[in-house]
Symmetry: C2
Subunit: 382 residues, 2 copies
């Protein structure tokens, strides 16, 4: 039976040991709610604290286990100097950064759980992980945490048609150990993926550090042209932390999305993306024609979705994000509805449609702030 931390029936000492810290600190974190319990009876860390990443999850179930939060990957703004100052290695491995949502999959007490970035168990992702990841990997290596990107059209967080995936696919990009958090090297992870038949993110190659920026530019432009996101650049031995770098198309896609729901997203969201465009243009020594092309794309990514949203509200429509999930069990859908409610997301679930052995369920996510703001400006608000 699981223990319920609400009843404080948790072993502070064991948690302190797991997190390599003191009991007093754990008590403080619990008291302030920085470490708090979830409806699924585990504890999550609300924000990063010294040496422990946000989203770290502790399972005070029969055995006490920890899944460390997935560290934020820094972004190269100017690629060439960033590579030079960031890496201490002679070469770097360049892998595709896919556009989906991040999940960490682990086996806790023999039960597979798939965690969101924040550390919540996502029931939908868990059902998908159970069928996409062979159980054997966890019976062979119960101490492993598989980090990957969930990608495809049946994604309730970031639906994408780009990759030619039918429903939802798991792309492994990192394996580390529960206890110490030590990662496998790039080569080891690739081997494991092959051995167990798990899809891995694409490795473009390993390049000498001082030449990598030329190669990455080529890769980024090729990826951008087919609407893909970008790359993650890694120390092959996984000692230096990775860096990410994205295509202009991906920045603009983000802007299109953000400006569709322009009043729901943080202003800094688009500011940072606009900055990336300028630095990429300078680094690539673009001429007037290339800058003009980039400016038009940027301007359109901002203006067109906003105009479309305003027109929609003007014609009496509600601005909703349409996503969908495909589940084997209707119970997963029920649990997922509960999960979205926990996350504070307002969503309307349609009736399930049976397709072969699964149910397709359409979900409308409602972005209230943009709807309300647009309506009030249209009726004369100044």
């Amino acid at each position: 039976m699981r223990k319920d931390p609400e009843d404080m029936d948790i072993d502070i000492k064991r948690i302190a040991e797991l997190l390599h810290t003191t009991e007093q600190r754990i008590r403080g974190l619990l008291k302030r709610g920085t470490l708090h319990s979830t409806p699924t009876h585990h504890l999550i860390l609300e924000r990063s604290i010294s040496k422990i990443e946000v989203g770290t999850a502790i399972f005070p179930w029969e055995t006490y286990e920890v899944v460390w939060g997935f560290p934020k990957i820094h972004r190269a703004m100017m690629l060439e100097p960033a590579l030079r100052t960031h890496f201490t290695t002679e070469s770097v491995a360049v892998e595709e950064k896919m556009n989906g949502y991040n999940t960490r999959v682990a086996s806790i007490n023999g039960q597979i759980v798939a965690l969101t970035r924040g550390g919540h168990i996502c029931p939908y992702t868990t059902e998908k992980a159970e069928s996409l990841i062979p159980e054997k990997i966890f019976t062979d290596h119960p101490e492993w945490v598989l980090c990957g990107e969930m990608v495809g059209p049946d994604s309730p967080y970031a639906p994408k048609e780009t990759y030619g995936i039918e429903s939802l696919q798991f792309f492994l990009f990192d394996i580390h150990e529960k206890k110490g958090g030590k990662p496998l090297t790039v080569a080891e992870r690739q081997e494991v993926a092959e051995e167990y038949g798990i899809q891995s993110t694409r490795l473009f190659g390993t390049y000498p550090l001082n030449e990598a920026h030329h190669k990455i530019r080529e890769i980024i432009q090729m990826l951008g042209a087919s609407g893909r996101e970008g790359v993650v650049i890694k120390d092959p031995e996984m000692r230096d932390p990775p860096l990410k770098y994205t295509s202009s198309q991906s920045n603009c896609d983000d802007l299109k999305y953000a400006f569709t729901y322009y009043h729901d997203y943080a202003r800094s969201f688009f500011y940072s993306r606009v900055m990336r465009e300028a630095f990429q243009s300078v680094e690539w020594r673009e001429g007037p024609a290339e800058i003009e092309r980039r400016a038009l794309q940027l301007g359109e990514s901002i203006l067109k979705p906003m105009i479309q949203s305003i027109k929609r509200v003007q014609s009496g429509e509600k601005l909703v994000e349409n996503v969908k999930i495909r589940v084997k069990s209707l119970k997963t859908s029920e649990k997922f509805k509960e999960h979205l409610r926990t996350l504070g997301i307002d969503a309307v679930f349609s009736d399930p449609v049976k397709i072969r052995d699964e149910y397709l369920i359409k979900i409308q996510k409602i972005n209230h702030r943009t709807n309300d703001k647009t309506e009030s400006i249209l009726s004369g608000e100044t």
Copy 2:
């Protein structure tokens, strides 16, 4: 002699009377620093409080006098519904909104002072006001406050070549009484301007409320084409507060400026201007070609100045804003240097150059945050 409020040698009772409030409230405001003294020995209100606008200035000199803060003018986002809901009048007067800086000029104890929006006495603007505004208006009407825009290339805050002005010109747009704050009507103000030979902002005309948005669109497009800012729409009797509305070119000019010093300006600056573009496009029912033209202009206004700034820093230049002032007395320049320091602006003054009976002084304002941020990204910061 002026009284120094630092010594608390001020008459709280008289200030309370001037502001139509209680002595207790004034004491509270002084204690919290919301009402505080300046190096020029008057008091200014740091932020708006119920019924009293930020920038309100109290002069506890021989006679106690108040100059009310200039109220924020609301902006129409969608013109037609905004006019309809905002005004209770049958017609509206449409005047040009000029692109300079706001000042309030008054005579306190027979001494002319020109105040910044925040309520500080600007020594430079005061010198200019003394020569641009005939003293007679204040001997005839010592109770009047003249509100206007200071416009031209010799503006240390917002230099503009657009208007064909040689140095700096004062454009009167509002007159109100010190005591009650009651404004003159639009027609009265025009008459006064003519009588005393003071330049007034241009009145395009007075239009029926339900037709005004058509007229304003024409005016805005005409103004935009010559790089001008926009209009202020007024109740001719000045009972309803005015509304402002600006051209797309002006929004884009603001963006160009903000993105030149992209890390010094608030992110919300950018966001609000982009929103204006989308609503104007929807209200004007623009087709695909017009939207594309607008998107290109928007994208260029954002991207080009950033690229230029990055390149400048890359080539070892410092990003500075070059402005200039033209003064009769070098003492004004000294006082103005002090004034900028009070406002927290880092500026380097060049040696004065004598031109006819005046001195031209170039000023470099330094935007540290953008300089520092660009330098660190260029050297590999992620």
